[in-house]
Symmetry: D4
Subunit: 224 residues, 8 copies
């Protein structure tokens, strides 16, 4: 383990060799950090030689601070992702489905993560099971994908149906969409963990970043 | 309210006029009662003039005690329902679906309740969403029913799909089938409460009796 | 299933034939959508030939956007429901009870849903069980209704009492009224799921829309 | 505080003066104790001069050990209470109501506690709210009582109704009767804590002993 | 029950005879009501002949509306209680203890409720168990009280200690004071429900009103 | 969807073409089924032409029934998996790690699932983070695997550490090993869902079958 | 880290140098292991040179297997601890308090852990806060101890009181003693986590082993 | 106990001798107090002779009020701690580790508490287990410390790893950093309570004050 370097930038102890070890660099989690702290972390990663540095859960103030420091930076306000540097050319393709329009922000974080990870992304939105023909219509897309990410709130039933239609891995992302007994995403989380169809793996509620990193690993593995 | 009679049988205070008020007589909940207590309650209801007296959650010992007292009694060991007296002729038809074979006992309680309530029942089992073509195949049955009862454990996703296929009311029964994050039926319960398709109403976990009574009310109302 | 059409309006994939399949059209859930997105969805439904398009959980900003686009639209600010087009003439009658004045907004959503669904609605408010004579006084109303919707927060005890007084189906709506161990409606939800009287079916906390759709199905079925 | 004595009997450190301080002696909680330990504790209390020593949650084995040591002891197997010594003559009267027959064991613990505490007890059983006329029929009993204990499982709705009918304090005891979303008494507990009628105080699930001690304090206070 | 009157004031169905039945009039729960609705309810109660009408959970806006309508009204901004009319002369005395200064608002609601109920109140504040000598010092006050109300957040341990020092009934009020695993009062609630000393009865989290009504019933009963 | 066949064997409605659609055949979940029902389902799958039929969660009685019907069947009593027919030759390799010896049964289910799915499996056991050098020692194994399955109970911390050491996908399986605040696997489940390292995907508690199916999909995808 | 050795005994990968690193050797957690597996682990530790090897959560069968292999072994059936080898001479003293007799088994595990760790132990039992004078009487013991372990179930209130009486660290152990809202130790756990007196640190429910190891570290540190 | 004094300052009943009894004076918990109340409490403590008075959870308004009254006061806005008077010279050293930059505020409260308690503090930040080499690098710091405080949110896995590397007591502080299934610190709390390495003791979520007081007790004990 002695070969792993750490860059001490004061506010953080950056894990400089994480990209080499895991295929994904240390990505800055901007929630709970000041704009200045996020900028410092991004700069530290670039200084250490990273071709691309990025942050998730970026507030408007942090986005502004990033753009002021690096006018060429790219900010996706729906996904709340900011990045500085060169995006790698995409390999493979991950299919990202949403159950409803309200799941859009989480799906956007999945897509931004895939892009920054150098993996292709294709989105098909609003295919909830209340109109099951919309789900059945995506069968050709499923067959073409390296992996499938399904984003759903409320009852979270979509991954169970999709996993019964394909041999691709289904990464299920519960969202906090819904009220009352949805319990901020808990209902969808439990549904996905107990999916009656195997082949479903689950990430934390609203965790588009985690789903994107995982799907990217699968896609890169399939394209090797 | 003064016209409502109560029959005091020592171990219970029977609500003799409940059938007249609500369409369903007082039904004996045998769990937590001794076999003798259940027999006493059934006898009290018959003595008060009921043409049919029945009990749910009947243990083998209670079933034996009922049969000893009334050899002509009918006992369904899967549904755990015992009844003494004359079943009314069936009107209408309720469709009862299960997601899997393990949901059988709860569906049997629904069916026994419908029979005792004088409502027809048609069962189609093991149509979970992991093989969605099995669900689509029941569309003609849905169109013929006065109401639909859907029994499902694990992810509890079946009612969401069914409710998107029919204009009949869907009574959803979560079951305690599953392990881990199924939390003894809690996952299925939350899924059904947050179903993305409207037209789904929910009863307690494993409550086949409640679903049967409700579906019978709907069927009788539709047949009036 | 091939006959089901989907209207892609960019922000959503509208399930155009849902009214034909289920008796209720796709209704726009405005929470988590921008005013423009809601307007786009309503317009898409009207364009596809729907005589009436409506949305629930409408914020003041969304209500204003709807009225700007369709000055003839109808907005109910208490129920947070907006609709454009022609309401069908009412058939049957659903009785809507509330336990207290604070449950008013949820009951208003039930009523607005019934109206948009072409079903008659009669409200009797503030009949909580602490003054049980107020509940007993609604007995004549119960006998006239096709179905009963009971809206209650805090202890959620009202449906148990009402279901013991009538042979009509009782649709119970727990509300988030109350504090502390009411746990934002969880206490009322559990009470209703474990009601000691059968004939009670439950929807999600504060889900006036779901209760209205279900009650409308029952009323239409009874009037067929 | 220096006047308070402690009797060290090896397995326990008996709080000998608790009766003098609180009106109720230290009562042996037999659950988690061996029969021999419970006998030792009862003997220690009698040795220290108590006219009556008693234990709750007594298993059949412990009951047998008590009767072997003191043949004149009194054991109530339903209440699971054993006592040795002289019961004080009763003062006042507490009314104990149950919602159903299955709540019997908990009500029996209330009654046994009242008897051992020297307070009169009157029971009326099986008056659940599903047959509301049964509740209304107890109004004359309510007016005669010093306090009311209401024992109920499932939805736990009975105390809310009773408290609206009387000016007596209502001590509510949730029981673990019920299944599924009753969550072993949690549903009834939450219902009682959020009762819409004031004047309801709550004890732990199945805690007939605690309810009995509290009701005895009220009755003695009223009779002073 | 036919003698119970109801006053329909549009926004509510006032239970006019509740004071006669239960000793406490219908008290207006102002949370979730507009200022105008609360004023209407108070006026309706006074019109029906009540000598005193009051409301709890009163916001500053509602307090202002009450004072504008009745300049002679009394408003307690800490307790959030407003009242119009004549307070009955106090009988008896209830001792109200708090564990810490942060529990003040809830204790103030207890006190205001006692005052409006015509029962005397004595407060001793900030006697948490971390400095146990402060608890022991209240022993003389305990002996003089008709009942004791203990208000505590965080660990909620105070009632267990107090109940071991007195033969008076202890009404325990868990508060939402604390953070993290205090879970908004849940920790204190569970502590009080499982108090190792009998004689503790519990109300909902932050429910000073319910504790006050219950303590008033005990005090009046003791003074009869 | 019309090409999907269903085999009705009385106790179940077998999804015969699931292997063609998803790469994994319908696998019989034996929990909640009688031995005879499980045998019937396995026979039905073989009759429909499957080269291999298998069941999970097999009790000793069911294992005996399978062996009586098919003496050549293979039963793994630790994994509780029974299979009849020909196992496909393995492709690729999945690394299965356990945190402790008590996680053995779940890891055995993972391994049996991989074998039945035609994917290679390599196990390294008892490498919990309390002796972190044991984790670091598996780095060479990680680099050789197509995917990594990590099985852990109690604190469930192992996947977070492993995911920081590899670019392979980590499938995390929480187990019900532990007591108290482990809450039957809930603690480990939450830990894994909130892992500070991305690349971790989670299945239900004790769900070795689901982890095995998912890992097999990844391995086959990587070997295509 | 390369200096840390691992002993592979087939069923486990023993962390041989843990005593050198952490002061406590790897201790065998016997729950979920067969008697043979536990014996193998103990033998492996002794073979690697440990002067003392021990196991916790030992069932009677495992205890018998240990005694058969090492007749000189010491087994404490209440604490469920078995040990083979030489106990180090005790240094310092830890005071172990219990709230009630039912907490005995957990306190015994604390004591057995201290003994095996070479630290002195003094127990004072049954000093619950319902008789607060019993707590005050231990003040001299507190002053003599290097650390205090407080074991309590039900309301778990004892650590809050003790921590206000001493400058020693209080290690609080919630136990699963109690029923209903004790929720198997959850109530006591939350109480201890929210103790109003600082100086309280908490371990898992019933975790006498963890409390003993921690208290031993403190005592050894104080005696250095 | 009679020697313990109480200072009644109107808004509070200050426990003046707590420092003599427990080594830590009564510290003012400013949350839920007005700025004036906090100032009054601090003044009361100083008036009673304390060389240092301090408050935690200080809002900006309260901090300003403190500085206005005592211009020489010291305020740490990140830790939200204000103090007036003389800090004792530090003895010993506690090592404070954080898993990530977002845990900074809680770690600052630990450090401020140690300083006010007269104990030395050394911080090493951002050593989460996703880059395990950062944890291994702190081994020399661990060996020098009297105790270790580990502050972590999300999965809370860091204490398990650290406790396997040292013989010092590990005080674990779960933080509310994270979203979704982190459940405001619950996930980290459960992880720490079930840590697979012994020697971990836990405080409430975000409770830097409690961790600091406990660590100070250990350090002072080690330095005696």
């Amino acid at each position: 383990m002695t070969e792993n370097r750490t860059a001490d930038v004061g506010v953080a102890r950056l894990d400089v060799d994480r990209a080499a070890r895991t295929g994904t660099p240390e990505v800055v989690y901007a929630e709970g950090k000041t704009p200045a702290q996020t900028v410092t972390c991004l700069a530290g990663l670039l200084d250490a030689g990273a071709p691309l540095a990025w942050a998730t859960r970026v507030s408007p103030a942090t986005a502004a601070a990033v753009l002021e420091r690096w006018p060429e930076a790219h900010v996706d306000p729906v996904a709340r992702v900011a990045r500085v540097g060169t995006v790698p050319p995409p390999v493979g393709e991950v299919l990202v489905l949403t159950a409803g329009t309200s799941d859009d922000a989480v799906a956007a974080e999945v897509a931004a993560t895939l892009t920054a990870s150098g993996v292709g992304c294709r989105r098909v939105d609003d295919v909830g099971v209340a109109g099951i023909h919309r789900v059945l219509a995506v069968a050709p897309d499923l067959a073409r994908a390296d992996a499938v990410v399904v984003v759903a709130g409320m009852d979270g039933a979509l991954p169970s149906v999709v996993a019964g239609l394909t041999d691709r891995l289904v990464v299920a992302v519960p969202t906090s969409v819904g009220y009352g007994a949805a319990f901020d995403g808990l209902a969808a989380l439990l549904t996905m963990l107990t999916a009656c169809a195997p082949g479903v793996l689950v990430v934390n509620i609203d965790n588009g970043f985690g789903a994107g990193v995982a799907a990217a690993r699968i896609a890169r593995s399939a394209q090797r």
